[in-house]
Amino acid sequence: MNLLTVSGSPHIHGDNSIKKIMYGVVFAMIPAILISIYFFGLDAVKVLLISVIACMFFEWAIQKFLIKGPLTINDGSALITGILLAFNVPGNLPVWIIIIGAFVSIGIAKMSFGGLGKNPFNPALVGRVFLLISFPVQMTSWPKPNPLFARKVLDAITGPTPLGNLKEELKGGRTVQDILEHGTKMIVDGKEVLYQIPDYAQELLGNMGGSLGEISAVALIIGAIYMLCRKIITWQIPVAYLGSVIVFTGILWLINPNIYINPLFHLVTGGLMLGVFFMATDMVSTPMSSKGQLIFGLGCGVITVIIRVWGAYPEGVSFAILIMNAFAPLINKGFKPKRFGETLKI
């Protein structure tokens, strides 16, 4: 007989593990991956593959040669970062830029802090924002969606995102109504084309310009429901985030529907759904108590709308989440879970 093991209680362990959580997230991203491949074809596959391979490589290399700690490449977190980074860039991004993004995500935003669980900021978002600021041109020329089984010759290869187009036209002094009805004449790739913001059904499905993973709200919501059922994410952040966006944009819309578009448009365009379900809910960089998570979601929503409506960038999701990431430690301090038997003194 072997020696007996003596250890502190508890002596059993739940079946939860990092791997299960991480691969659960990856599984939840599959619908969005499929949609992106459907609309952007081989480009999407290329970007996804390069991003994932580069992220995993950097994680492995840094752990092996710089930190010289245990290798945790199999836990799936680098895989998630890779997919999320790919989700956050346009499908026609040059390979070398993707690799830089992967290096920033893994090397700077994650491994510098010691790896999984220690990074105060979401790695994929740091990589994305880094690229957006470094390569504004490449990061904001969006390939037009071209469904896989109905490939057609496009009059222009690139086009704007609905959100970006709307913002520019609004700044040019047009009204929301006018932009939605008459579209925009623009010169893309040397040709004059008419750009029409797609209707909501198209936007929900993902038939619009944008980053790989953000286009289809439906696919993202399917993934989110899966994660909610598996309890990989909690409801607090998504609800607070979406709620505050709806309320804030709703108020603006009621004030002046000519210059502020309705909340529905804000919900289905841009990276909101991707951010809300897959990045604002990143466990590592968000507050831990449910009260704190509500505050976090609220802050994300408000900052997102502020940047979308008044900022220079058409999309504010990434910045908003990063800024709230910075607030997370303070929120953790300020909003503790309610203790059992906490006596409230009045």
Binding site: I100, I108, F130, I133, S134, F135, P136, V137, Q138
Partner: protein, 194 residues
């Protein structure tokens, strides 16, 4: 030999930026290009050397209680001199460095060396210390500027070695923090192995 040590310590061992972490504001702010870094470094070095010299000369004439105000006056005078000279003879650099020239006054290195070294040591030592520290500072700023310029603009001292886009972030504010952070980390690692 002693004086050589005095001089060389500012380069790596007691580098004001990388090791002592002094004067980080100008270090981060003006190093968007190598030439700016060098200019700022030299300007600071000038103030450092001159104030070190003067202070070590008159250190015994100053009563202890008014030590700091006197030092500040002396330093501020030299800063103003640099400011005027630069404005007259290097207007482009003057504009690029902006308010960070007057801010040399509050650069902790200058006051720090004055208080910590020149007010106690001989004229020669102070001169050499100022030179060494100043060179170390200039070296650090130039290095930082060169790295940021190379990464962010694809050029060094204005000489473009890659065409097209570079990683713009590095000449913006986040790049300054990140590059300095990794340079210090690199030096830490370097120091440990030697």
């Amino acid at each position: 030999m002693n004086q050589w040590k005095n001089f060389s310590k500012g380069f790596i061992k007691d580098n004001p930026v990388f090791v002592l972490l002094l004067g980080l504001c100008p270090t981060l702010a003006v190093t968007s290009s190598a030439i700016n870094g060098l200019g700022m470094g030299l300007a600071t070095m000038f103030v450092l050397v001159c104030s070190n010299m003067v202070i070590s000369l008159i250190k015994n004439l100053i009563p202890d209680k008014v030590r700091i105000p006197s030092f500040i006056v002396i330093i501020a005078s030299f800063v103003t001199i640099v400011e005027l000279i630069m404005e007259g003879f290097a207007p482009a650099l003057f504009e690029a460095l902006g308010i960070f020239i007057p801010l040399i006054v509050v650069n902790c290195i200058v006051l720090g060396r004055a208080e910590g070294f020149a007010s106690k040591q001989s004229f020669i030592s102070s001169l050499i210390d100022g030179l060494g520290m100043g060179l170390g500072f200039a070296f650090a700023l130039t290095l930082l500027g060169a790295v940021r310029e190379a990464l962010g603009n694809g050029s060094i001292f204005g000489y473009k070695f890659i065409e097209g886009d570079a990683i713009l972030v590095f000449i913006l504010s986040p790049g300054a923090f990140i590059v300095l952070g990794y340079l210090i980390a690199l030096l830490n690692r370097f120091k440990k192995t030697t």
